[in-house]
């Protein structure tokens, strides 16, 4: 394996998720908000899961949040991530009001514990998109 072999799975893009991935090319975080009930949701859907309204607008987020749950992986979930172990998988509660799965990078994995504050960071994917990850922010 060469040094620049990808260590990140670049996921396929769903129609509902496309605006998120497009903004990720510029390392901008945007979230889907319902035009009907004015609430955010995650993951991106064609309709709002709170009220089923079909109109969703994308708003910028400052990417700040709190770790809700965390687990360190001693083995990779897929072979391409082998060089990353141990790494930490987290659920982050964004201040905007949604919860999403991610990783915390740039720290000892065990330091990314429940309750720690985090801020958005980005890891490049091979196709120009970026993966939303987090760094400790407290």
């Amino acid at each position: 394996m060469s040094d620049d072999a990808p260590t990140r799975f670049a996921p396929p893009t769903s129609p509902a998720g496309a605006p998120f991935w497009e903004a990720s090319r510029e390392r901008r975080l945007v979230l889907p908000w319902c035009d009907g009930c004015a609430r955010p949701h995650w993951y991106p859907r064609e309709v709002c899961p709170h009220c089923l309204a079909p109109d969703v607008s994308w708003r910028p987020s400052d990417g700040r949040g709190t770790i809700y749950a965390a687990s360190v992986m001693p083995k990779p979930a897929m072979p391409m991530m082998a060089s990353l172990v141990p790494y930490v998988v987290v659920l982050v509660d964004l201040d905007d009001g949604v919860r999403l799965m991610s990783n915390v990078i740039g720290c000892e994995p065990r330091a990314a514990s429940v309750g720690r504050r985090v801020r958005a960071a980005w890891e490049p994917l091979e196709d120009g998109r970026h993966l939303l990850v987090f760094e400790l922010d407290d």
Partner: protein, 400 residues
Amino acid sequence: MTDPFRGRAAIVGVADAASPTGELVGTTRALEAAMVREALADAGLALTDVDGVFAGTGGTFMHSMELAEYLGIQPRWTDSTQTGGSSFEVLCEHAAAAIALGRCEVAIITYAATPRSSFKRGGPGFGGGAQRAAALAAGVVPPMVEWELPFGMRTPMGAYALAASRHMAQYGTTSEQLAQIAVSTRRWAARNPRARLQELITIDEVLASPYEATPLHKLECCLVTDGAGAVVLTSAERARDLARPPVLVLGAGTSHTHSMISQMPDLTVTAGTVSGPAAFAQAGIGPDDVDVLETYDSFTITVLLALEDLGFCPKGDGGAFVADDPLGPGGSLPANTNGGGLAYTHPGMYGIFLLVEAVRQLRGECGDRQVPGAEVAVAHGCGGVLSSTSTIVLGTEATR
């Protein structure tokens, strides 16, 4: 007021297959057929009596149709509901309801999977990778692939580990307390000659086993084995004349809260808070009346959350509750008396074994691991990643 479904259907035949080697011989279809034959013989019923087919797995697409065709059954009630490991409790609820309504009279539920021998042959073993690949090939992007897979969570243990991390942070639950669940369960497995793991273990040994995903250690995670089982239900009236003492379905409840773990509303609260009280209310009893508990133990945290959500202890107190070994032999709440998914068998979807063991306990057939005088048992399934739960309350003739 008595619930109209309470006690109207009974489990009258059971069978299961597992081996200390973890492996079984035969295709899954052949194993299912053997289980159905054995469970019908256990009940004293014939294949021609069966008019309800319940199967959430085993086929390629139309599970109950493919099973019924293979077995030569043309039923008047069919059900292919799939909720992961809790499927069999859901199917039991559906079968009991269909029987109570008179829409079918003799129902079979069956399951077989051989992930251990499949993996040794170079096959896929256990996991959803094949289904995900098929969805992608069809141009559909499953949300899990887009929003979870890139972060490398080991599945399924990582999802349960996230829940354990949250419970620990929120309630002070310790790894020692979670480990006690594995220790208690192994004490039962030591009394089951068919269990995969029969040697007693200590809390220290659990904590010394490697992490699969922090905070969960290897010995807190279920087995991957081959296994198979079947359950036969009929009406309470017809059950009176059959070969074995009937085990009445006193109550049932089902719910689910999410499919993938990042969508679980609260990682410390499962759908058991809905399915459990619903099943108990229908049965007209409460947690204090339960003599034996068969509860899904994919991981130690699965058991801990179920104990809280079913009302055996208050939310957050699960760690303290399990610490004195109430779940083991001689304890106040004997649980997973066959050795559970942690030590008996776990072919990927364990729920049918919960029903089989609960029935055998209520019939008094369990030998060295028999809970003396058991009259009320609960089988509580959990499927997906803490996603779906289904609770079945069972009772002997004395509870009718």
